[in-house]
Amino acid sequence: MSEQNGQEQVLEKPESQLKEIWYSLCRNKGALIALGIIVFLIFVAIFRDFLMPYDPNYSDMGKAFQRPNSEHWFGTDQLGRDIFSRIIYGTRISLSVGLIAVTFALTVGTVLGSIAGYFGGKVDTVIMRCMDMMLAVPSILLAITFMAALGKGIDKAIIAIGLVSIPEYARIVRGSILSIKESDYVQAAKVIGNNDMTIIFKHILPNVLSSLIVRATLGISTAVLDTAALGFLGLGVQPPIAEWGDMLGRARGFIFSAPYTLIFPGMAISLTVLAFNMLGDGLRDALDPKSRNK
């Protein structure tokens, strides 16, 4: 019942619903802070070239392992590169891998899931069993396999991470479609002669949107973490490009002698992942009419 109520609201007063979601989000302090952090990160990513005090790849061997000081806020790494500049540089990499990979996975996953859920039968079996196969292997392992096959590079990391997260979206979409496609209004839309594509994209998908948005937000945090994991394992970027996970992996030998080489990239990763997770949680509460109307 509640689903149909939500549907009516969407149709009747979409503006007020958006507002309501926004208010609900504002009431959740954690989510609001997270949103602030994300906006800040995006700002850093866009204007990184103006924000970096040094060339992130400029190495001055004479100044290796400097503790954080007024010149180098986060200190310098083993090769005398400014860690602060490298973290700023890495922001765009992590965010763009996260966003693009999720967009890719979301698009492909939605299309596959819709087809599987709506048409059912053999198509469903073929698509979903393929997805199951991908889900059976731990996603990071699968990503490592893809990277090993494709080689190093940001673009390849995007493809690898995007590919491994397709099944999640496909499953969500398929599940929702299965429950919605038998509802009266879909039947009605069929009866009045709408074609399948219109029904899927115009009438069914908007109902799946809220769960997809939540999943995608959380997906970005997973993608950022996966990027870092690939970098940590030395599969991410071509040297000397600065990437958080790579910085962390290369510095792990210095955990006792120069902890700042680890702490700052580690903090950047945690902060980003935390922000997306908190926003995702906030969005889930805000988008769920049941919890919103409490």
Binding site: N57, S59, L79, G234, P239, R250, S257
Partner: protein
């Protein structure tokens, strides 16, 4: 109900902690079980942790340092190295004579020596061991056969305890090679016959320790050879443990789980010292270098190579990267090796000159391949080193494209020759200068990674091998060094110090220059 839950979870937590502690303790108890009745004062077991498992324990069939460390305690060769140098001392051979022409070596053997399986050691056993590494019996798996016995023509048994080795051509490094832990050690002929000519899993030598067991990826256990012909070992059992992760190995040392570790780098020295452990560093017999692929069109020109080398500030690089635990290499040979010459100079640091030449020659991009693992001669790992060099080159307008691979893949990539610059290094095996310099004339491109082929240099190498030790020979190697430095084939970077660490309770610890450890003199007071 809430309270109840809390109580239950507390109990569970405590139980878990107790189990964990019990688990930790169990290991130690096991190690210290079966106390030696005779020696009240000394601990009966010493534990040595290394980074990797031996590949095997048949000295003819393996070629890695991790195996050598274990084998050095099980086997002995005809001769051995002095504890603090690579001078040759008698071992299974009491004495030897070298003929005037340098072609015949006659060894008088120790009498009454028994292998661990009871087989008597005699001239036949020596012949059996060398013959198995000579054509026609030698196989492709015998990595060091060519290196150690390549110059041997045949072996004659003169009498029970006299053996004569005839060489094809004079070879000065031959004696030094006979002391090595790979290829040269003498294995029980009975054990070889019983094990299908492969004692990788059932080693049997004459050394102070006998093989007991090998639990894959866990440990190798040795026990004292009570019938040893020399002074018996002080400690009854030696356990080699394999802990791949550097920091885990350090933790194992500092919390008393193991007594000695090796394969560490400068970054953990402070941690080890803070844990009240002793760090041992010796001048390593190593060279860490950058090699130009002389066959690649990009760096085929000597001027280009020179300019690229000039762009790198080696002293700064070494000081910063190895934090005082490696010395700048001005020559290929470390300063304590025969043949070292202080007169050899590499190109100095001169970025201005380098930039001018590189611009004039139109060099903007260099393809670099490197390895991602730390190596004994380069503890900072190849990728970090390559990135440091990349930084220097970027300042003279050259972009380095780095491809980094793990060690085994890297070796395959080197074989293909698809690179302008690569990084490599060498651990000296025998203290002979030929061991290092020969790398530049080796026909095998995985050894001669610069693919250098200079007839003049090759002639000098041949001359060096045939000349007896002394000033004349040393001068030849100095001359070779000069040729290589002038041709800018390598950019020598550093001579690493070999770092290992041990519990200060261990008495008599020493780590030999050839990167092996001998335990027979070591002991530790019992707890």
């Amino acid at each position: 109900m809430r309270k109840h839950m809390k109580l239950v979870s507390m109990v569970l937590l405590v139980a878990m902690c107790v189990f964990c502690l019990a688990g930790c303790g169990g290991n130690k108890q096991q190690q210290e079980a079966a106390p030696a009745a005779g020696e009240a004062k000394l601990s009966d077991t010493l534990v040595f942790a290394q980074g990797a498992e031996p590949r095997g324990l048949d000295p003819a069939l393996v070629d890695d340092g991790e195996s050598a460390k274990v084998m050095a305690n099980i086997y002995e060769g005809l001769v051995k190295y002095a504890p603090d140098s690579t001078d040759i001392l008698p071992c299974l051979a009491k004495s030897w004579e070298i003929s005037e022409d340098g072609l015949t070596y006659t060894f008088k053997l120790q009498e009454g020596v028994l292998f661990h399986d009871g087989t008597p050691f005699n001239a036949e056993a020596v012949k059996f061991n060398i013959d198995r590494q000579l054509p026609p019996l030698v196989t492709e798996d015998m990595g060091y056969a060519g290196f150690v016995f390549g110059s041997v023509d045949n072996v004659e048994v003169v009498d029970e305890y006299t053996v004569k080795i005839n060489l094809k051509s004079p070879s000065t490094p031959f004696m030094a090679n006979l002391a090595m832990a790979l290829g040269a050690p003498i294995v029980s002929p009975t054990a070889l016959q019983n094990n299908d000519n492969n004692v990788n899993q059932a080693p049997c030598g004459t050394g102070p320790y006998k093989f007991v067991s090998w639990s894959p990826s866990e440990n190798v256990v040795l026990e004292r050879n009570e019938n040893y012909w020399g002074t018996p070992a002080k400690t009854q059992n030696i356990i080699f443990r394999f802990i791949a992760d550097n920091s885990a190995r350090v933790v194992a040392l500092t919390n008393g789980e193991v007594d000695m570790i090796d394969g560490i780098d400068a970054t953990v020295v402070d941690q080890i010292k803070a844990g009240q452990m002793t760090v041992d560093n010796i001048e390593g017999m190593t060279i860490n270098y950058l090699a130009y692929n002389t066959q690649s069109p990009v760096v085929a020109d000597k001027e280009v190579r020179k300019a690229l080398s000039q762009a790198v500030n080696v002293p700064e690089l070494v000081a910063s990267l190895y934090q005082g635990y490696a010395s700048e290499a001005t020559t290929i040979l470390p300063s304590f090796m025969p043949g070292y010459s202080a007169e050899v100079k590499q190109v100095g640091y001169d970025p201005e000159a380098a930039k001018a030449v590189l611009e004039a020659k139109g060099i903007t991009e260099i393809h670099v391949i490197t390895y991602t693992n730390p190596r004994p001669y380069n503890t900072a790992n190849g990728q970090t080193l390559a990135e440091a060099i990349q930084g220097y080159w970027s300042k003279v307008g050259v972009t380095a494209k780095i491809d980094a691979y793990d060690w085994s893949t890297y070796k395959e990539k080197v074989k293909t020759g698809d690179y302008d610059v690569c990084f490599y290094g060498c651990n000296g095996d025998n203290g002979d200068p030929d061991n290092f310099m020969n790398l530049l004339c080796d026909p095998d491109p995985t050894m001669n990674v610069a693919r250098y082929n200079n007839p003049e240099f090759n002639a000098l190498i041949a001359q060096g091998v045939a000349t007896a030790n002394g000033e004349e020979r040393n001068a030849l190697y100095a001359q070779m060094e000069k040729i290589v430095a002038e041709d800018c084939v390598w950019l020598p970077i550093s001579h690493a110090q070999v770092l290992s660490a041990y519990n200060p309770l261990v008495d008599g610890y020493y780590y030999h220059k050839t990167a092996v450890v001998f335990f027979s003199e070591m002991s530790k007071p019992a707890k």
